[in-house]
Amino acid sequence: MSTADWKNYEPVIIPDIKDLDKIDVYVKNGGYKALESILKDKKKWADPKSVINEVKEANIRGRGGAGFNAGLKWSFMPPADGGPRYLACNGDESEPGTFKDRKIFEYNPHIFIEGALIAAYAMEITTIYVYIRGEYKAYIDMMEKAIADAYEKGYIGKNILGSGYSVNFYVTYGAGAYICGEETSMLESLEGKRGYPRVKPPFPAQKGLWGRPTTINNIETLAHVPSVINRGAEWFKSVGAENHPGAFLYGISGHVNRPGVYELPSGVPVLELINDVAGGMRNGKKLKAVIPGGSSTPVLRADQLDGITMDSESLRTVGSMVGTAGMVIMDEDTDMVDVLWRIAHFYHHESCGQCTPCREGTGWLEKILLKIKNGEGEVKDLDLLLDLTTQMEGRTICALADAAAWPVRYTINRFRDEFEARCKKVIKASNKAISHQS
């Protein structure tokens, strides 16, 4: 299916089936077939490696934002040595504008569970953790229920479906820190420690949770795995954009008529997503700007969006990224200074404080932006902001500093007039002298 006929795409992860979160309904609709297949169909799946190869071939690019080939990531796990190995599923989902994994927890938890089980089998892992953000209390409960059901039905636990393969599945949850969505600080948090990102190398595949080999995958990434097993890598690659194949869970929010999560092929034109999928702009207003993939991805002006599709290749041409496909749509009434201050406030609040440039830089950015927002800024402050973004970017352990710097840089660059208009008019010295005399 090419991107053009996205309208004919049939959702796989969040199809329109009532009560799909119940295990019986899920199984009735073909659930856990993929798991059964890899465990039992030895002709098709000779060994765990063959599962990894299929997933690698499918090129599921990580849906957490970085877009790394999931199968390739799996292949980085060292050979099993009898000791513990872990799969840590990242459901921290805390980037503003992103709310797709929540949809999976709520509507189809078992497809994620099945995907995680397949991943665990492929990497010969016997312990799975799913880390869910603490604010998702309701979905944590739902996941716990779903996992308990799957245990009961024999999909999780000892000797799954009589295959001899055993695995345990635990739900853990965060305590409200954005940084714990960063994979290595999520591991720290799982270990019960303060969520500080770890220095890499060593990478989690070598030394992860409790110093043991660990793979970390996003929830949506794993939810794509069962369909890859059921329908094959070729089918998956045929969906959506060539370099970023498969479906996306587009999380569309903002000034549109029908905000929500939509499962559609990758590479759908941005404007069609706004107008056809999300029902167009609210109150017939004009589109002003789009943040395409969560608050850290560079904002795009409406005039940049012609012919741009939601995949990494196309978005790169206009200087942005697909991120988590959590799109924030803003209309003509939006004050970009306020938007940017709010984003900067978020990163200031969430910087873990480990690395100097991020700890100090995020606060400084916010304080200057607040000054500008209150009409007390000067034009030179804008240049200082841009300078600070280069001082922060690429100088820290994890990417939070980059995530904080990019919105500032690109929003100012792309909406500079608006920012300058908010700045104080600097009275020139000669004018001052005159006013003194009078």
């Binding site: 220095v199 200031h348 969430e350 873990c352 700890r359 100090e360 400084w364 200057i368 001082q391 100088r395």
Partner: protein
């Protein structure tokens, strides 16, 4: 041999090295705050940024690829790297701030960030003068600040525990202190609280930072966030002279520095010795600075009608000589001390030899169960093994009591036997007791003649620790009879070099009226007609090394060069200590 190119200079190396440590070991510099060679590397201050690349190797031939000019092709890392956590590799090319503008800029940027929320209170900050942040800002920092908004405010003057005070605003979140309690003292008492620019180290709610090694965090702190409750506001760093010494509060012989101003020891800090105490000392070793200043015995004192009164040196010599002459040799008991140095004990031993008396005895000062297997030992004395190697008779408490009972004249060397509950006042009541001592105690109170002698801060002398390592002290303060201007071995402070005459150490009262034991004994021997001249520690140690097998090869220059010498001791002695 593998090679690394740093700032255009080629260096060979063997084994594994972290780049920052490697650069430091070369005598070069890259600024840093969070890195510490004895702890894990968090790479969180981001100050040691350098540019790192790698010569490109031809996969087939294994040779380095060259460009059209014959220069090696370099593949640079896309981002600057922190030198602290990157391994030195063959064919690695490194540009530090010395050769690269980008690196200079990055380090300056980072310092600008560190300083935006750091209070500019250096004039009232204890750390000023020995502050890595201050020093590196002068060297690598920006000229001014572009920060025109409000700084973050955090708790100040927080008494974290009995000995450490926190100023959270000064903290740069390097996590050295929290890593220390996690990795070195293992009490896990400190952690970072809150997030982002609001975070700072703190204990658990209601918990005290009473770690027995807590004051090491004050030394580790690269800013003035953690200060010593005892030392803060007592002195500026540049007013004090720093003198290397050895901890005398227990058997470990931790290497320390004494900080002196006007002949008062104001604080004690650890001195690095990889073979003994690494970078650390226990808090109780620091509190020992008071021993050098307070409760000191100044001028000899003699008991007349039950009261100790000040006496004179001439009288002290005369009394000692007289008592020895009048008492039957078999009724004289000399007691050496594990609390005194090798040189002092040797001097005492030599004196007894020449007098034809038996060797001094001694009783180790060991309190079972007080040690922690790290730097606090069961042994309460710094020189137990020194006494053993000198061949002194080792007595337990009971046998000492028996020996004392037989004696009529007891000569004690700096060992507070009554305070240690080895003897009671009544044991000494009918004897003539002469005590050589540094500080007043119950024991000196019971003595008929008290002769003040120098402490480890006032003489150069050596101590053999529980592991059999002999290490020595330096003179850190003057006594009444010395002039530090004539003593080439005494350290020079910044005020000595750059100060005015008013900055001289002038308070006469701070000088104790005491003598090194060997000087006094030489005088006493002279008056007894004995041929004994002991001038100073250095020469006494030369004599010991010549005459006593266990000390063969020991001398001050060798000890200074190798920061101590390992002597061979019997394993029994080691475990007993």
């Amino acid at each position: 041999m593998p090679e690394v190119i740093i700032d255009g200079q080629q260096y060979e190396f063997e084994g594994q090295h972290k780049l920052l440590q490697f650069i430091q070991d070369l005598g070069k510099e890259v600024p840093f705050f969070c890195y510490h060679p004895s702890m894990s590397i968090p790479a969180n201050c981001r100050q040691c940024m350098v540019k790192v690349g790698q010569y490109v190797k031809d996969r087939e031939t294994g040779d380095y690829e060259t460009d059209e000019n014959g220069e090696n092709v370099i593949r640079w890392f896309p981002k600057l790297q922190t030198a602290c956590n990157i391994d030195v590799a063959d064919g690695m090319v490194v540009h530090t701030q010395e050769t690269d503008e980008l690196v200079r800029r990055a380090q300056k940027d980072n310092l600008e960030f560190i300083l935006i929320n750091h209070p500019l209170d250096c004039p009232i900050c204890d750390q000023a003068g020995e502050c890595p942040l201050q020093i590196q800002t002068y060297k690598y920092g920006p000229e001014g600040s572009r920060f025109e908004v409000k700084k973050v405010h955090k708790p100040k003057r927080v008494q974290l525990g009995p000995r450490v005070v926190l100023d959270a605003e000064r903290c740069i979140n390097c996590t050295r202190c929290t890593r220390f309690t996690e990795e070195i003292s293992k009490t896990h008492q400190l952690t970072i609280t809150s997030r982002g620019d609001k975070n700072y180290p703190i204990t658990a709610p209601g918990a005290e930072f009473d770690d027995p090694y807590s004051l090491n965090t004050v030394d580790l702190c690269p800013v003035g966030a953690l200060t010593s409750a005892d030392f803060r506001f007592k002195a500026r760093v540049w007013e004090m002279n720093q003198t290397p010494s050895i901890d005398i509060t227990n058997g470990k012989g931790s290497n320390i520095d004494l900080w002196t101003r006007d002949n008062i020891i104001l604080r004690i800090t650890p001195r690095f010795n990889a073979d003994v105490n690494d970078h650390w000392i226990p808090d109780e070793s620091r509190e020992a600075y008071k021993l050098f200043n307070e409760n000191r015995i100044s001028r000899p004192q003699q008991k007349l009608e039950g009261e100790q009164i000040l006496s004179s040196w001439n009288n002290a010599i005369a009394t000692l000589t007289e008592q020895i002459e009048e008492t039957d040799n078999s009724k004289i008991l000399f007691i050496g001390s594990p609390h005194a140095s090798v040189e002092e004990n040797y001097s005492l031993g030599k004196f007894t030899n020449l007098l034809g008396l038996k060797q001094p005895v001694f009783t180790p000062h060991i309190e079972e169960g007080t040690g922690d297997g790290f730097l606090i030992t069961d042994d309460q004395a710094p020189n137990t093994n020194g006494c053993r190697l000198l061949g002194f008779t080792e007595l337990d408490g009971a046998s000492l009591k028996k020996e004392v009972k037989k004696a009529e004249l007891v000569v004690l060397l700096s060992d507070h036997l009554i305070d240690r509950a080895l003897l009671s006042e009544s044991d000494l009541a009918d004897k003539f007791v002469i005590a050589f001592a540094t500080n007043h105690s119950e024991t000196t109170k019971a003595a008929d003649l008290v002769i003040p002698i120098t402490t480890a801060a006032e003489h150069a002398a050596s101590y053999v620790n529980t592991d059999g390592r002999i290490q020595r002290t330096f003179r850190a303060k003057e006594i009444r009879y010395t002039n530090r201007r004539l003593d080439l071995e005494m350290s020079e402070g910044r005020l000595d070099r750059y100060g005015t005459n008013f900055d001289n150490w002038v308070t006469e009262d701070n000088k104790i009226d005491c003598l090194p034991l060997w000087s006094f004994i030489s005088e006493a021997a002279k008056s007894s007609g004995l041929d004994l001249t002991l001038t100073e520690g250095r020469e006494i140690m030369e004599e010991i090394a010549e005459t006593l097998e266990p000390f063969k090869g020991v001398s001050y220059p060798v000890m200074d060069e190798q920061s101590g010498i390992q002597l061979s001791i019997k394993s029994k002695e080691k475990t007993k200590a």
